[in-house]
């Protein structure tokens, strides 16, 4: 009986494990292997020749390859940090708006917020490229109504990356709001009742009950937000092509350009490995930070 069960477990697992093994795990290992190779994406893997740390030296070196990569790494870090810093507080505020029972319409608000998460990023990019249009674009028109002059948005190196952060936040915040609501529903109502009896006001209850008990939810949200943010591609590929003057050149776009379009597979793989390492480091740091707070 036990043996038969083990056999059927094998059959049940085989399709998923094979597919994920072949199409995720093997390519990931290949990426690591290729990062130490001199290899053109247009040739078979067998044509790769070992170069040690050559690719890594080049992408961190003083040539244009190194300059472009370092810019892309920095842009991605800024983009990711800004996205997380904006999305997390907004998701808690919006989550409270949906969760509270004083004013009706919370569920409707949740629907509106979450609907943007269903929209293909390419459509988001198209729509926002027109919202940001300098003269006839509605955003500058609306700013004009409240007395603020026209902003250059996507056309200036100073504001282009931030403009893409805004459209990312707009698209994703509904998803994180739903996560925040899930966290809020986990907090026992009795805690708030006890706090009310003790005379704690709404702000104190938020500060000393909601926020600490949301820590796990926020950690999960931060990890997902980071993973999502490093994947930004469509607005850059479609609208800015990494410009103006490299200000929106982010890693997903840059790695694809180097590794696929220019077929420099070894260099592109070394960049992908650095992205993977950066993610591991930042997510571990985040966990360490939250755990230290927990033990305090």
């Amino acid at each position: 009986m036990a043996k038969a069960f083990r056999a059927s477990a094998g059959i049940l697992l085989a399709p998923a494990v094979t597919l994920i093994g072949v199409f995720v795990v093997v390519p990931m290992l290949l990426t690591i292997w290729l990062s130490f190779q001199d290899w053109s994406t247009q040739t078979p893997f067998s044509d790769a020749s070992f170069t040690g740390l050559g690719n890594f030296r080049e992408i961190f070196g003083p040539t244009s390859v190194g300059r472009d990569f370092k810019t892309a790494l920095l842009n991605t870090a800024i983009y990711t940090a800004l996205s997380v810093v904006l999305i997390l507080p907004l998701s808690v505020v919006f989550g409270l708006m949906v969760y509270q029972r004083e004013v009706a319409g919370g569920t409707a608000l949740r629907t509106v917020l979450f609907s943007t998460y269903m929209v293909p990023m390419i459509a988001v990019a198209l729509v926002w490229s027109k919202l940001y249009a300098p003269s006839e674009g509605p955003l500058n028109q609306l700013l004009g109504l409240i007395g603020i002059g026209p902003q250059p948005w996507l056309s200036s190196p100073r504001s282009a990356l931030v403009s893409i952060v805004f459209l990312n936040v707009w698209q994703q915040v509904g998803y994180f709001t739903v996560l925040a609501i899930a966290g809020l529903t986990q907090i026992p109502g009795s805690l708030y009742e006890a706090a009310t009896l003790d005379g704690a006001n709404g702000r104190e209850q938020f500060r000393f009950i909601s926020l600490p008990l949301l820590r796990r939810t926020l950690l999960f949200s931060a990890v997902i937000a980071i993973i999502n943010a490093v994947q930004v591609f469509e607005p850059v590929a479609l609208i800015t092509q990494g410009g103006p003057v490299g200000s929106t050149n982010v890693l997903t776009y840059h790695i694809r350009r180097v590794g696929i379009e220019r077929a420099q597979g070894g260099l592109g793989s070394a960049m992908a490995v650095m992205l993977m390492l950066s993610l591991i480091v930042s997510v571990s740091a985040l966990f360490a930070f939250v755990n230290r707070k927990d033990s305090e």
Binding site: R6, L12, V112, K130, W170, L179, F233, V283
Partner: protein, 286 residues
């Protein structure tokens, strides 16, 4: 809006409530504005889209822009490609996720938690990390520039396995044991007994997978290598932006975006309960 706010605060003495209601309304308007503007602009005449200050509502709504989209890209073909990609991928994900989720939830075998952790770890891997070798591998399998090349690598994913395991774990063992006593095969038990008891989770996974793969851009763009016959709608759209660049193309772009947004948004409106429940469920149980 200010009139509405004022009447609200008159009815309710508490200024706090009025403030909260105003804030909620502002958030909803800001959130809905880009898509509302997209649809309205798709119905404007070319002249209206260029007017400064902008015309918010089209005076004589026209479908002209949608007709022009059909001149620039093959709308029917692109929508069909998107439908095939999203549907076949979703079907594959459902089958592989239910099978593996069932094994992880209801079987004990050596290395189970290690294998599960390894699979879950792949969930956190951004696709760009595997893109370069995967592109080469799919090419050497003879699948590049085809719909199969887009679909095959995505037929299983860790999120689906995770979600199915979470929900199948809640199905009573007695139910499964009883069917085993009757001599039912494991696959029969999975699809006839287990699946119906986790139907809402299956619906949620189906919708997630469908929307994700309808919207997916990076992989199709990479694998298709410019084979326009196989373009899903999201890739065809990028042609609209370069069409007539510098001249009037705003209405055209908005009409195309509206077409691409409609299927996932309509699905969402009808089935949002499943989406939201499964996110909440996976976050709590995870």
């Amino acid at each position: 809006m200010s009139a509405a706010t004022r009447s609200l605060s008159r009815k309710r003495p508490s200024g706090r409530k009025a403030l909260l209601a105003t804030a909620m309304l502002l958030v909803a308007v800001a959130s809905a504005f880009p898509l509302a503007w997209m649809v309205l602009t798709s119905l404007k005449t070319p002249a209206e889209t260029m007017q400064v200050p902008p015309v918010w509502l089209p005076h004589t709504p026209t479908l002209e822009a949608f007709g022009k989209v059909a001149d620039v890209i093959n709308v029917g073909r692109s929508m069909w490609n998107s439908l095939v990609i999203a549907t076949v991928t979703t079907a594959g994900i459902l089958v592989t996720s239910m099978m593996a989720g069932y094994a992880f939830a209801k079987y004990s075998f050596p290395g189970r938690s290690l294998l599960f952790s390894l699979l879950i770890a792949t969930m956190f891997l951004p696709p760009i990390v595997t893109l370069i070798p995967l592109y080469r591998m799919v090419g050497s399998m003879g699948l590049s520039a085809s719909l199969a090349g887009i679909i095959v690598p995505n037929l299983a994913n860790a999120f689906g396995i995770f979600l199915m395991r979470q929900f199948i774990a809640g199905v009573p063992d007695d139910l499964i044991d009883a069917a085993r006593m009757d001599g039912a095969s494991e696959l029969l038990i999975l699809f006839k007994i287990v699946a119906p008891s986790v139907a809402p989770a299956i619906a949620a996974l189906a919708l997630f997978a469908f929307v994700y793969h309808w919207n997916s851009y990076l992989w199709p763009l990479t694998v298709l290598q410019g084979n326009a016959d196989a373009y899903p709608i999201v890739i065809s759209l990028s042609r609209l932006l370069s069409y007539n660049r510098g001249a009037v193309n705003t209405g055209l772009v908005m009409a195309g975006a509206t077409l691409a947004v409609l299927p996932p948004l309509v699905l969402f409106v009808f089935l949002q309960r499943f989406f939201v429940d499964s996110i909440v469920g996976s976050a709590i149980k995870g």
